[in-house]
Amino acid sequence: MGAVLTNPLRVGLRQERVIPPQCLVIFGASGDLTHRKLIPALFELFRQRRLPSEFAVLGCARRPWSDEEFRSRMAEALANEVAEHPLAWEQFAAGLFYEPVDLQDPPSVVRLGERLAVIDRQRATRNNRTFYLSVSPTFYGSGCRSLAAAGLLSDPARSRVVIEKPFGRDYGSAQELNRVVQTSAQENQIFRIDHYLGKETVQNILVMRFANTIFEPIWNRNYISSVQITAAETVGVEERAGYYESSGALRDMVQNHLTQMLALTTMEAPGRFDPESMRNEKAKVLQAARLANEDEPWKCCVRGQYGPGGSSSKPITGYRQEPGVNPESTTETYVAMKLFINNWRWQGVPFYLRTGKRLPKRLSEVVLTFREAPVHLFDAAGGAPTPNQLILRIQPNEGAEFKFEVKAPGSGMRSRPVDMAFSYDDSFGEPSDEGYVRLLADAMLGDPTLYTRSDEVEAAWRLYTPLLELIEDAPAQLPVYPYEARTWGPGAADSLLADDGLIWRRP
């Protein structure tokens, strides 16, 4: 959302919960995520007065940095914010510490425990810790084990572990990882992060649905004919080739972010807004979700990979030409698929999911298309009346839009579609917090509502298992179609909808 002049009456009105005294321990503190997302989010929380004075951040990685070096590297990474708020940074940075730790080396983890005890005394953080695993996914299980072995997860009320995505590579590995982390800590100590859930507009799906009475009665198979969920990126693989080559769009985007949007769009209303009620409903709906054709999954999914594109003055490199990518790579950078949800609310309604890199626009949205009017009384500008659509814009231009038919001016009775729009910018005019601000705060508050539970993660992996198996065992059956960079994906993806007489929304 664009930043505009602040509403002076809004300043200080949000009295959010203050995080209790604690030490946040970041493993992988020398990595990108720490200085790009985590420390900026923590500094934002500090400036919002949501961090108590009894607070510390302990960065951990294998590099032999000192506290001072860690502080200066973070200050360098946040140069603009530091320049803007030098005094606040000085106070915040006094609570930044660093300890070289190798999670695979037990004596190193024991030393970590000793260092935490010292910080507890220095900063009065009361043995209360949140451990953030921003490390390679291969170390999630062993990392939890090491922390548990050192006794650092023994108090469920005072220790939590945040685990980054991806949580597993498939259903089996997710189950195994759940088993390992659950032997190290209780489920209520485990926070599996999906940063999409930290987005204001993703949370707004819930508020729109369950704080208004007009939507819920029509939010079902009787009124909705299809749903499209899109997460489109304009960027390519960037510096993540190593990770992306082994993951692809299905694992990187669909299994987590798109599936969470699907769950929030389709879940039943929880009895109350608390972690278990929310996650029960999400898990239930994901357990009812199925690929449109599980026996022949290649018929309900299309994979693509971007090739070169752009103009002669601004050429765009194809995926296989990106640094670090195998020139023969069959990793998908685009995926589109059709799902059904086999429950009373959604039976028979197709859900179309798509995501891709190097598409023409960066956007995420959920589009609910309503059934046509049963009788066409009026001439429509487009031949037939356009079905009503509710578009929930997750990013950018955050907001919502409702398309409906009105009488076109003139003596006849012709109808034409118009938009009724709500925009966060126009209504609130304030930038919202980064997703990590919300999610980090929630983890440190011990509130897992916006984190995924083990059964949710497993249900999400199980949903895509037929596709993952096909890619593994018979990739030729699910070919990777090339598409030109900055186009809306391979033509085969259009066929997926054309068979149902539909087209993708062109945003």
């Binding site: 002049l5 009456l9 919960r17 203050v18 209790p20 007065r49 108590p52 009361r126």
Partner: protein, 431 residues
């Protein structure tokens, strides 16, 4: 959430034995439970209204200290019997005082400190210490102790327990035994001191309880306005964390007004405010003044004059003039208005009118009305040519305990910065 009673019947002990008993309680009886590492909550629970209503037979016991609908209904009925104006708020200390002049000598069990509102118990206070002053000022001190484990609701909760300590007696006896309490407050845990009574009473007790960096919670609608505002200013000035439930009840008014100016197209109007009018219930001006002071601070207005204004037979209002950052004048009027069914606390907001007049475009008139009261007075006169933004402010309708629970859940260990700057301006606004 429902209220919860301590699981054990409290044990009446001689005061000197309380610390030893609590130690034994934790080492023996609660050995399998770990105490909640949360906070200590000390409450001065006057409950004079409830005590007086019970004494004169207008309310059945027991006395719980909870302000429920039955108490409020009895209080409203008693206001009429006492010859007080209809608009007397049930929690107005004048009402309890007036009921005190009615006859009657009924008694009921006094369970203050033994009922815990579910919204508070969910935060698992480690120790709840309740001072329960009695109508009989000469009553000697009684101390009661019980273990307390919040009931897990629908799978939530845990095995963390706390304890409750009740000190009951005449104010004099409570005052003399303040030393007993100090060792019961753990220095390792945050301590909240909730003065759930008029700020006019027992100031020396409040001073003793709310010492150091304990987090004081008061209600500035209860007591003499000058005393209430001066107390807020003094505590803010001394750097003590202080929270005001009266200020917290303004939340929906601040939020509603901010909401009007959320659309960027309206922001500029805030630089051109020429008039602010407030209507409040009855003759307690504190809440309205805090709202005006907040607005003045947020918009950078400088107070230049303040004076009393005669109302139209409905009491005395307050007028003031502010200077905007561009040197233009903002006129402020706050008037008391009579209401048929007053809200629980004195001085509740009825309406707000803000007129913004810039050199370009038509003036903007913002009117906020209380959900229950409406604000016909503010809607009248000369607004036909203005762009009108009218909103109804929802009633928070939350009990003291719910407000307190909101504070506890926030965990803020310092004074709300908006209150810290608004209180001194409000104090200066009071003529």
């Amino acid at each position: 959430m429902s209220t919860q009673l301590t699981l054990q019947a409290p044990l009446v002990l001689p005061p000197a034995e309380v610390p030893g008993h609590l130690e034994r309680l934790w080492s023996d009886e609660l050995g399998s439970s770990h105490g909640a590492a949360t906070f200590t909550l000390v409450v001065w629970e006057g409950s004079w209204l409830e005590q007086q209503l019970v004494r004169c037979g207008r309310l059945d016991g027991p006395i719980t200290g909870l302000l429920n609908d039955t108490v409020l209904e009895a209080a409203r009925a008693a206001a009429i019997s006492c010859g007080l104006p209809l608009s007397t708020a049930p929690m107005d200390p004048q009402l309890a005082w007036a009921i005190g002049n009615l006859g009657g000598d009924h008694h009921a069990a006094d369970l203050r400190g033994q009922f815990v509102e579910g919204a508070i118990s969910v935060h698992m206070p480690r120790r709840l210490i309740t001072f329960a002053p009695t109508l009989d000022g000469a009553k000697p001190l009684e101390t009661l102790v019980a273990a307390y484990c919040p009931l897990p609701e629908e799978g939530a909760g845990g095995d963390a327990c706390g304890d409750v300590v009740v000190l009951r007696g005449g104010t004099g006896a409570l005052r003399e035994n303040l030393d007993l309490v100090q060792p019961l407050i753990s220095p390792e845990l945050p301590c909240w001191v909730w003065w759930n009574s008029s700020l006019d009473e027992a100031p020396e007790v409040m001073t003793a309880l709310a010492s150091g960096n304990r987090r004081l919670v008061v209600d500035s609608s209860l007591g003499d306005p000058r005393r209430c505002l001066d107390l807020l200013v003094a505590r803010v000035g001394a750097g003590q964390p202080i929270n005001d439930l009266n200020w917290m009840r303004l939340r929906s008014w601040r939020e509603s007004l901010a909401m009007v100016f959320d659309p960027p197209s309206r922001r500029d109007a805030l630089n051109h405010v020429v008039q602010l009018d407030l209507d409040v219930e009855g003759d307690n001006p504190v809440k309205g003044l805090l709202l005006a002071a907040w607005l003045a601070d947020r918009l950078g207005w400088h107070l230049t004059a303040t004076y009393a204004v005669d109302g139209d037979g409905s009491g005395q209002g307050i007028g003031a003039e502010f200077e905007r950052t561009d040197g233009q004048t903002v006129r402020f009027r706050q008037m008391p208005v009579p209401v048929g069914v007053p809200k629980t606390h004195p001085g509740a907001m009825v309406g707000l009118r803000l007129i913004c007049q810039s050199s370009q475009g038509s003036p903007l008139c913002v009117i906020l009305c209380s959900e229950s009261g409406g604000c016909m007075r503010l809607e009248s006169g000369g607004m036909a040519s203005m762009e009108l933004a009218e909103e109804v402010v929802p009633l928070p309708n939350e009990s003291e305990e719910m407000e307190m629970a909101r504070l506890l859940s926030g965990g803020h260990d310092s004074t709300n910065p908006l209150l810290a700057v608004a209180a001194p301006i409000a104090a200066r606004l009071l003529p």
